[in-house]
């Protein structure tokens, strides 16, 4: 694409990015305030970080659809920093912490300059998860009390965890109204994903919590003519003079041992959180671009420096907000900028309303965040990969909780290595080969395939060598990774390999691993777990056929089709549909297929969003191959969301002759001429007179989606008839 064309394209995409930036700001506002309060910093510190991140990273960053701002992982580190550096005086501690944030920004910038973007690859995946879970537990333990309106609980994470039952039983005696508000907010956050109403989902859950709690306050003031029954202690305070009263970082302690420890912890966590987020967001990017990680690190470092000088927290790439951005059509870095701009507008014009937000509601959002970080599902998933992985997870988690974050991750690394020694029973394998190159990559001259061979052992200790090679393969090519010369492959590598497989599949390439089968047969491969299993499968629910499965099987038999109840983790041909562009497909199950293979119906588990905005969905889909050529298009029901989208610049193809169809349906696609040709009056009448399904074409196959849940047998039959009629109609149009 020429520079001019890409420029005009980014101009055209501005309205979309304003829109997604706006939706992101709705979630960034409560999170920013909450994260700052949880770190014992002034509430605006979080907003300042988000604004600095939005402006600086959108200008200098190397990723495309990420959002930068205050991070969840850092709460614990910053909180510890504020309390230890302040020695009792929280505000003093905050000023010292600002200096530490600036230092860590410089370090992060240097990491980017020195191209240390691969640093996160040196950490064993499970130990990292254990550390993140510990951070989650830390947030949850502290915020649970505040959510219930109790601010008096002090002590370390363990003491606070122990005090949770007590707080839960007694909170009605302190601030019953705020406490109940907080608790209800938490319940709402847990239920939000279950409510499948598209209008409702236009506003992210945390914003609902904030809006509702502000509304309750207004209800008391304006309707009941009473003061708000929330203790002023439990409300947010914003200084009146926003821009003149910025705090100044205090550099007096820069040579202090504690201070340097804080700088190190902040940098470590900021680095890890950002890199993990960037990696995860790249998998959601509808345009399938690869982020320049080192450039992003430099921008994040710069943003942290700016933020620190303005009195804000440090800036990292955040996964939940980024996924909201992707889901709302954000397509380039300008969305990050607009999210910052909207935050400034909020603070300037809605300052009064912000001061009506009860801390208990914000604490509920944080408790939910902490829970999502530390969810027991993670432990269960890790356990399924291998009991030794669960052990690593628990050891890292416990060490982090009882000591400090740095010590926790160091113990996690050492312990993982000990486990590897124990499993492989071969110390020499590691000691002799650690510093030797072990990866060969070449492009086979005849086939043009990329062949990668790994020797000796491959674990978190030397994964970076393999990764550097793999990163040099364009994801549209065919890559073969051969482990047959490798005696030991650990879980971190397996997980990394699986990530590559997904990326290659998304971009139309092919990524194969070979040579692992021999190993698992020889049981030399304790980590040769190919994928994480969904919880249902873990609990053995799939062992016998359910009623629905039996009915499906009967339906298939009746039509002389094939039925397969098996889980398929890498269903083919779905990545090319727009619907799955920013979603992650988990697995396909219960598929029935006609003998020619031109029709198939199946259940699919997929997820949308990430982290606290992640929603796991299951739905029934139908795929069929029409006999004629069809252009790429998406046909959807016209609703509030699509209307908003068309305002934001997403195209809707309307037919002036068919006002009803144009009003009811949202039709989009790039080849407008071909689409208009395809949608003959007969076809339009067909859609108007049949039940509605989400329908789209990827150029040679048509995808039909049922409800936002699994379809019943009756509904599947309806879908089938619909598809068969449509197929016949399309054939007759030839």
């Amino acid at each position: 694409m020429s520079k001019k064309a890409s420029f005009s394209e980014s101009l055209r995409s501005i309205p979309q990015n304003v829109f997604s930036g706006f939706v992101v700001s709705l979630i960034a506002l409560p999170l920013g305030l909450g994260l700052a309060i949880a770190s014992e910093a002034p509430p605006l510190a979080g907003i300042i970080a988000a604004v600095a991140g939005g402006v600086v990273v959108s200008l200098f960053g190397g990723s495309h659809v990420t959002i930068a701002g205050p991070g969840n992982g850092l709460v614990i580190v910053l909180l510890a920093a504020v309390t230890t550096l302040g020695q009792g005086n929280l505000y003093e501690g905050y000023l010292y912490t600002l200096a530490a944030i600036i230092f860590s920004g410089v370090l992060l910038f240097l990491f980017g300059v020195l191209r240390l973007g691969a640093m996160s690859e040196f950490f064993p995946a499970t130990a990292l998860q254990g550390m993140l879970a510990a951070i989650g537990v830390g947030i949850l333990a502290k915020q649970f009390h505040i959510m219930l309106g109790i601010r008096s609980v002090s002590g370390g994470t363990i003491e606070q965890l122990m005090a949770i039952p007590d707080s839960f039983l007694t909170f009605l005696a302190f601030h019953p109204f705020s406490g109940i508000l907080g608790f209800l907010s938490l319940v709402f956050l847990f239920l939000y994903g279950k409510i499948r109403n598209p209008y409702f989902h236009l506003i992210p859950a945390p914003m609902w919590v904030v809006v509702a709690s502000i509304a309750v306050g207004y209800y008391y003031n304006l309707v009941l003519k009473q003061p708000t029954p929330i203790d002023p202690e439990l409300l947010i305070k914003i200084p009146d003079q926003l821009f003149t009263s910025l705090p100044r970082p205090n550099f007096d302690k820069w040579f202090d041992f504690n201070f340097l420890g804080v700088v190190l912890s902040i940098t470590l966590v900021a680095n890890i959180e950002s890199l993990l987020s960037i990696k995860a967001v790249d998998k959601l990017d509808p345009k399938k671009r690869r982020s320049n990680v080192n450039k992003d690190l430099r921008a994040l470092g710069l943003a942290s420096i700016v933020s620190g000088f303005l009195g804000g927290l440090n800036v990292v790439t955040v996964i939940a907000r980024s996924s909201v951005n992707v889901n709302n059509g954000g397509s380039n870095r300008s969305a990050n900028f607009f999210h910052a701009a909207f935050l400034v507008l909020f603070v300037v014009f809605l300052g009064e309303q912000i001061q009506r937000i009860p801390l208990t509601a914000l604490a509920a959002i944080l408790v939910y965040t902490g829970y999502r970080l530390a969810t027991p599902e993670n432990l269960l998933r890790v356990y399924k990969i291998g009991p030794e992985q669960a052990l690593i997870f628990v050891v890292t988690l416990a060490t982090t909780l009882f000591t400090s974050l740095i010590l926790g991750i160091v113990v996690g690394i050492v312990f993982t290595f000990i486990v590897h020694l124990f499993l492989s029973k071969n110390f020499f394998l590691f000691s002799i080969n650690l510093f030797k190159p072990n990866v060969l990559m070449y492009r086979e001259d005849q086939s043009g395939n990329y062949y990668v061979s790994v020797k000796n052992f491959s674990s978190f200790l030397n994964f970076f060598r393999l990764k550097t090679k793999l990163d040099q393969i364009p994801e549209t090519e065919h890559a073969i990774v051969d482990f047959s010369l490798c005696d030991f492959v650990d879980h971190t590598v397996m997980e990394g390999i699986h990530d590559y497989q997904r990326t290659f599949a998304r971009k139309g390439g092919h990524f194969e691993t070979i040579g692992l089968d021999i190993h698992s047969a020889e049981t030399q491969h304790p980590f040769a777990v190919r994928k994480s299993m969904p919880i249902n499968a873990l609990l053995g629910i799939q062992n016998s056929l359910s009623n629905r499965q039996k009915n499906l099987s009967a339906l298939a038999e009746q039509q002389s089709w094939y039925y397969s109840p098996e889980l398929n983790y890498e269903p083919e041909g779905l990545d090319t549909f727009l619907f799955f562009e920013s979603k992650v497909i988990n697995y396909k199950i219960n598929s029935i297929q006609n003998p020619e293979g031109s029709f198939s119906v199946f259940d699919l588990s997929f997820s949308e969003g990430a982290f606290i905005t992640k929603e796991d969905l299951k739905a029934t889909f139908l795929l069929f191959k029409p006999t004629i050529n069809v252009p790429v298009f998406v046909l959807d029901k016209e609703d509030l969301k699509t209307t908003l989208y068309s305002w934001a610049g997403f195209d809707d193809i309307n037919f002036s002759k068919f006002p009803d169809f144009s009003r009811l349906f949202h039709l989009s696609g790039s080849d407008i001429k071909a689409i208009r040709k395809l949608f003959t009056p007969e076809l339009i009448y067909f859609f108007e007179s049949h039940p509605f399904f989400h329908l789209e074409s990827n150029g040679n196959t048509i995808l039909i989606k049922g409800k936002d849940r699994l379809s019943s047998l009756q509904e599947i039959k309806m879908m089938l008839t619909f598809a068969q009629d449509l197929s016949e109609l399309l054939t007759s149009q030839k």
């Binding site: 990866v439 060969l440 070449y442 364009p474």
Partner: protein, 287 residues
Amino acid sequence: MAFKSFKKLLFGFAFSPSLRANVFEVTRLASFLNASLVFVHVGKKTSEKEAQFNSILNNCPEVPSDVELLWRDGKPVNTLVSICKEINIDLLLIGALKREKMLKFYLGSIARELTRKAPCSVLLMINPSIERQACKHIVVNGFDSPQTKDTIEAAFEVGQALKSDKITLVEEVSESRVAVAVNDDRSLRKATLKKEKINREEKLRVVDIIKKIPSQKIHGLNWATQSVFGRRGYSIGHYARVVRADLLVMNAQEESTFLNRFFPKDLEHILAELPTDVLIIQSHRDE
């Protein structure tokens, strides 16, 4: 500076369990190459040992016409090196050891020192056997170095003598020559294009070398080229293992210069873990 054919081979032996296999292997090789063979034992000559050795030699099915047996006293390395110089040996044969359980081969300390000090070409054999194992696939380095022409010529000559099926010329290209750091899609595209260009250049260079080799040496042998981007001296060894080459032919170490005193030498990785039989060609530039 044409390549000098292997006409005089030397095998220094010790009385080890693998002696029989080694003797079978080297006599077979010498007769394939149509060369004379000198056996040297560094140590006391006793009639017992001589009888043992002779009984092995007499059992060999293919014995070259010209076989000599020498017994010398002294330090093994120095003695063998001086004999090589004395009687103008073309190729020194050394047996490697096999590491128990790990299925990996390495050189004993004597063999390693010998490899470094040898004034002539050296063949390191990892798997001597009593039955003949055909040498089907030869991998040879195509480094950008003045010695490479001789090395490639030697590979073709050996390939003809051993009736190999295929010779692959591997050009190892250091990543630093690409000089584009892969960060994102754009730099990846740039790096990929640059690699393709280097690949073409390398291929031309190697084909040019082959054009200079007398055509009767190439006749009847399949050959192909393969560029590998990676650590020089490491990648080719790994490649030879991956393609299950039967022989890897390498340039001898270049004269030690200021720079390669600090950096590990090309052969180091291969000697540490022999991927297959390795033939190290010493070119005779002074001739």
